[in-house]
């Protein structure tokens, strides 16, 4: 049954096992330490093994117990919200808050099914101005404002 394979706990178990495996692989070259002392690799490797074991239990459990069915995943929300953060991160240093702020708001606005262009632009501008006033001037945080225009 393909539906059964997509069940929440089956997928959960697989994800947990994958994360544990990845962590163990990353830690593979760290010395685990002798029986007496602990090395830098002891805990990462030990915890990764424990996590992997728990993932296997979760996976096996899901075949015996009636768990929740597969969840509905959406793409639009995560894509644009996370995208907005990345855009902000890329833009903030070279272009400053003046550009990064409205860009992030505009990108994020696409995450909702009700995009309104004019509202987004006006609102993005106002919010950015508010944030500049609060973070840059009132609090004096060293976040770049508009390096290409005013030099900081």
């Amino acid at each position: 049954m393909p539906g059964k394979l997509l069940r929440q706990d089956v997928l959960g178990g697989l994800v947990v096992i994958a994360v544990a495996g990845f962590a163990y692989w990353l830690a593979r070259q760290l010395p685990a330490g002798a029986a007496g002392g602990m090395g830098p690799g002891t805990l990462p490797k030990g915890l990764a093994l424990l996590l992997g074991g728990l993932g296997v239990v979760l996976l096996l459990n899901s075949f015996f117990e009636k768990g929740e069915g597969p969840a509905r995943w959406s793409i639009r929300g995560p894509l644009f919200v996370l995208g907005a953060l990345v855009v902000f991160g890329l833009a903030v240093r070279p272009l400053g808050l003046v550009v990064a702020g409205p860009l992030a708001i505009a990108a994020a606005a696409f995450a909702s099914s009700e995009v309104r262009w004019r509202e987004t632009l006006i609102f993005g501008g106002l919010m950015t101005a508010f944030c500049i006033g609060l973070f840059k001037f009132a609090l004096g945080l060293p976040i770049p404002l508009a390096p290409w225009l005013v030099g900081y």
Binding site: Q8, L11, G12, L30, V81, G89, P142
Partner: protein
């Protein structure tokens, strides 16, 4: 009379104009956040942490604490008016509180919640002041082995108290512990699990992790559920309860305060149990239990008091032992670290003005909540009508600026996006992120203490058996976990969380 002298010092600190202002802002922002659905206190504190970079540590902690209990309070407002509990702890309040609102007694429900919380806050402040000093002395006697045992016990309790399956809570704690090992090794200086990214050699930043799995993931979840909030209550009604209602509420408030205060002290988020326990107790004690669920004022007064008392006494493990009992307190650790403070028994000894000032500010904060919230209820209700499409973009921008400003590093913003995605996946897989956060914070401390203990015992694990306190704590932790897995207990545990 150390207690009085200490409290006097505290009030002298908390009553300076700057600190009063910060407490006020904290309470106001906290209530705002609590009222707005979809922004929890964890995300807010993470978001506003940079706001406190410019003030001194005492003021910063006063403000952050204000946000925390303001949010608890705002959560009950939406629970009563909209039947949307903003916080887990307000779930119980919604049962009878919203019934009262439907009967046109919303004002009274809000009023008794505020009065009960104020009473609970006052008592809890005294409890912290009284217990703080002796517990700190006890903590100073603890060696690394005892600390390690205590933290294992705390994690055990947190697992038992987490919502959902015990297995999933254990998985999340272990994942948190694993994440905590990312970064430079304490002793050898080797990079661990960093993928060769230089920004990760200091480890994963706590604020980044919290903001991702709570703040961003929460936005993603809200975007999927179309808006369904409307203020069903047209009439708030009078705020002050009648004499008869006050008389009915007195017992529940006092008992709720007691229950909440005790549960809040437990390491491992005992505070969440307070409202549930209080509600169950009042229902049992009532002459007419059938009134519960139909707008009984006792069902609001008791749990609300328990909630507020627990919220406040959960500062005790953090301030005296340096062990955060829940995710919000874990963020407080982050805030203290930013300001160069190491949470633990040394805080009270080295920074008495900070310790006692913060405690005094809690009482003042409760007074603020009483004063600002009741008259402002109309404003909060109107705020609920702001469309979510405007709200989430604003929250996102604040998050981005806040996270960037902690280290002035764009990488932190990327990591936040990554953990936001991870948090979204966790939600979809039914994995609760709160235990992971606790595991993450305690993980760093635990590894440090474990290795110190082993260094002292020259590598012998027998130290955890030979030292009676450490051994007792580890046995307790094992017992708590074992009990939770027993079929009978796990069934009643599920029932308790469903109600």
């Amino acid at each position: 009379m150390d207690l009085i002298a200490n409290l006097a010092l505290g009030f002298a600190t908390a009553l300076t104009p700057m600190n009063l202002l910060l407490a006020f802002i904290g309470c106001l922002v906290g209530t705002l956040i609590g009222v707005l659905p979809g922004v929890g206190p964890i995300a807010t504190i993470a978001m506003l942490m940079p706001l406190t970079l410019k003030v001194d540590p005492t003021g910063a902690l006063i403000m952050l604490a204000g946000i925390y209990y303001g949010a608890q309070y705002g959560g009950s407002t939406t629970a009563i008016l909209l039947n949307i509990p903003g916080e887990v702890t307000a779930v119980v309040t919604a049962i009878d509180g919203h019934e009262m609102a439907k009967q046109g007694r919303a004002g009274t429900a809000l009023g008794i919640a505020a009065l009960g919380s104020f009473f609970a806050g006052t008592v809890a402040t005294l409890v912290i002041a009284a217990i703080g000093a002796p517990l700190t002395k006890l903590a100073l006697l603890f060696g690394p082995a005892e600390y390690f045992g205590l933290m294992v016990f705390g994690l055990g309790l947190a697992i038992v108290l987490a919502r959902g399956s015990v297995l999933k809570a254990v998985i999340m704690v272990v994942l948190g512990l694993l994440l905590a090992t990312v970064g430079t090794d304490l002793e050898t200086g080797q990079d661990r699990l960093t993928l060769g990214i230089a920004e990760l050699s200091d480890g994963v930043d706590f604020a980044v992790l919290a903001m991702g799995v709570f703040g961003i993931a929460e936005i993603l979840r809200n975007l999927e559920n179309p808006e369904s909030r409307h203020v069903a209550v047209s009439k708030i009604g009078r705020l002050l309860p009648s004499l008869d209602e006050l008389r009915r509420s007195l017992g529940p408030v006092v008992r709720g305060t007691g229950i909440g205060s005790i549960l809040g002290i437990l390491p491992g988020n005992g505070a969440v149990l307070g409202p549930f326990a209080s509600y169950a107790l009042e229902k049992k004690l009532s002459k007419d239990p059938s009134r519960f669920g139909k707008g009984a004022i006792e069902g609001v007064a008791g749990p609300e008091s328990a909630n507020n008392a627990g919220a406040q006494t959960s500062f005790i493990p953090l301030l005296t032992l340096g062990i955060p009992p829940n995710a919000v307190m874990a963020l407080m650790v982050g805030a203290m670290t930013i300001h160069g403070l190491i949470p633990g028994p040394q805080v009270m000894i080295k920074h008495p003005t900070l310790f006692w000032g913060m405690i005094a500010s809690m009482w003042i904060g409760n007074l603020f909540l009483l004063i600002i919230n009741l008259p402002l209820i109309g404003l909060w209700v109107r705020l609920l009508k702001v469309p979510y499409r405007l709200m989430f973009t604003t929250i996102l921008l604040f998050c981005a600026i806040g996270i960037y400003s902690i280290n002035n590093n764009p990488y932190d913003v990327y990591f936040t996006a990554f953990f936001g995605l991870a948090g979204y996946v966790f939600i979809k897989l039914g994995l609760e992120p709160a235990p992971m956060l606790l595991g993450f914070v305690l993980g760093k401390l635990m590894e440090e203490k474990l290795r110190q203990a082993l260094a002292l015992s020259e590598g012998s694990f027998m130290t955890f058996v030979e030292r009676p306190v450490a051994a007792a704590l580890l046995v307790l932790a094992a017992a708590v976990m074992a009990i939770a897995v027993l079929p009978a207990v796990s069934r009643s545990r599920q029932k308790a969380f469903q109600e």
